[in-house]
Symmetry: C2
């Protein structure tokens, strides 16, 4: 585990709970000192990577996107042939950096969709991923054994696995993760521009709508800016929809279609989370078309709920 902040620190705890032998390293002395209470922390990133090479361990990068290239340089030096994954919030740029810096690693990108608006080791918890979706990339060329290992880690951390390609992940994350952060920032600013009176009247809708604006700005920037092409598309769609709301409000005094569409969308989201009754099936990772099937199922919103040997239990 390289990086012991909110996500890395939570994976370290959850993987330990799940029976994995785990050790970490971080350049943050604060996080290192805190993690050492009860967990194995190597003195520096190089030591952790050398131990990984010696013990043939899976290496997981849990650093913000802007720090990825720097850490990959260390991987190239100390563990150039390792099995590698990451938990960074954008997938195509990380995959490209891996190809550039450590082409000899067997890399499978991943991304747990969980977090809080606080950060650092102290903000993490052993149950952060319980019930959360955790993307494990199914791009063509993925090593199936490493895929199964990363998926197993996610499942052992309490998450369920969503099999998608890096490009699909980035497009979806722009919509459901990066755009929400921009909207929260803008809403908070519009509220504060109303002065102390407006803030004094802020209740549930404002509190919830601005919650993630409390996140550390560097981390929000890192994920938004690392995914800027997909984010511009999502932002354009939001601008178009808001413009339509303004237009009907001005011309006809109504926001009917905006509100109704949003309500149906939220109900679809609630239904998708409630677990569904569309059924379940198995995909054997040894089948020639296993990755294609997982890609297709992921597009339908399916999740891998368990892994028995090479057999994935998939719930639709």
């Amino acid at each position: 585990m390289i990086g012991l902040g909110l996500i890395g620190g939570s994976v370290l705890r959850a993987a330990g709970r799940g029976g994995w032998t785990v050790w970490g390293a971080t350049t943050s002395t604060t996080d290192a000192a805190a993690a050492e209470q009860g967990h194995t922390v190597e003195p520096d990133v190089g030591s952790a990577l050398r131990r990984a090479a010696a013990e043939d361990a899976l290496v997981l990068l849990a650093v913000p996107f802007p720090a990825v290239e720097d850490v990959l340089t260390s991987v190239a030096r100390h563990a150039p042939g390792c099995r590698l994954t990451d938990v960074v919030g954008v997938k195509q740029p990380v995959a490209a950096a891996v190809r550039r810096h450590v082409p000899g690693t067997r890399y499978v990108g991943s991304h747990p969709m969980a977090g809080t608006s606080t950060s650092g080791w102290a903000a993490g918890s052993v149950d952060l991923f319980d019930g959360a979706p955790w993307v494990v990339s199914v791009d063509s060329g993925v090593d199936r054994a490493v895929w199964a290992e990363v998926a197993g880690l996610a499942l052992d951390c309490g998450a369920h696995v969503v099999p998608v390609t890096a490009a699909e992940h980035d497009a979806a994350a722009a919509r459901v993760s990066h755009l929400p952060h921009l909207l929260a920032a803008v809403l908070a600013s519009v509220g504060a521009d109303g002065g102390p009176l407006a803030l004094a009247l802020g209740a549930g809708s404002f509190t919830d709508g601005t919650r993630v604006a409390a996140s550390r700005p560097e981390l929000v920037r890192a994920m938004c800016e690392g995914n800027h092409a997909a984010l511009v598309d999502a932002l354009d769609e939001a601008l178009r929809r808001l413009g339509a709301a303004r237009s009907t409000l001005m011309s006809a005094g109504t926001v009917d279609s905006t509100v109704r569409a949003g309500h149906l969308a939220r109900r679809a989201f609630d239904a998708s989370r409630g677990g569904s009754d569309r059924g379940s099936l198995q995909v054997d990772l040894e089948a020639p078309d296993a990755m294609e099937r997982l890609r297709e199922l992921g597009r339908l919103g399916a999740r891998v709920s368990a892994l028995h040997g090479t057999r994935c239990q998939v719930v639709l």
Copy 2:
């Protein structure tokens, strides 16, 4: 209490807990049947209003904005000289309707800033207003005795009172209550447009950012459309800020200023909610400039935390 949905039903419960003698009426047979288990429900709105006239009671309107004119027609018939308040989410249009339909009532508008995304009597609770801001209008011409009675009701329901004018309320509510509903609707739609995969990846930021899109569309429309002039202004500010984010993202690959401004705004909101140490003071409602002073204090984000006779305890 005319209307026994989420808000009216919660006021009925909370005011009863606070020692008030309360009775209600509603045109919803579902809400009436549920409320009758333990509360006094008159057979119809006319009966409730006639009893209010006979017993010199404060009348509270708790119906959605589109139903206000209709109920005011009943007030004009059955209790034309009553003391009147309301809990509708827009204040200037309600005040205008009161002037048109029941000019003989002594009216003081109010608005508790609390709610949930569910509705109806069953969704209400006795503690919905505990710790919540509750606007009581301090427009010029307000009857101080009625103001004190409405403020006392809000305090007895567990809320604190924010003294603002109807126009200031509507401008602030557009920013912190109506705009959040439009942004939530748009975010939900952009997420759902990403298909089942995007919804499967929705986590905390999407869940919180779309929560109020689960509200009944008619109620969201009623409050947004009832306040459309102020809402267009707030929407334009949001569009301008989102456009600026898009522009810096395209030209320089950054959302720095958007994210940083939003973070500072959210911190200001958190600080304003945490109670402040700017001190407290008293305003005597019998002082000639009492309403002017409350207006000024409201603009600074002050709240009335208690009422002892005619003396308001004001916390800054």
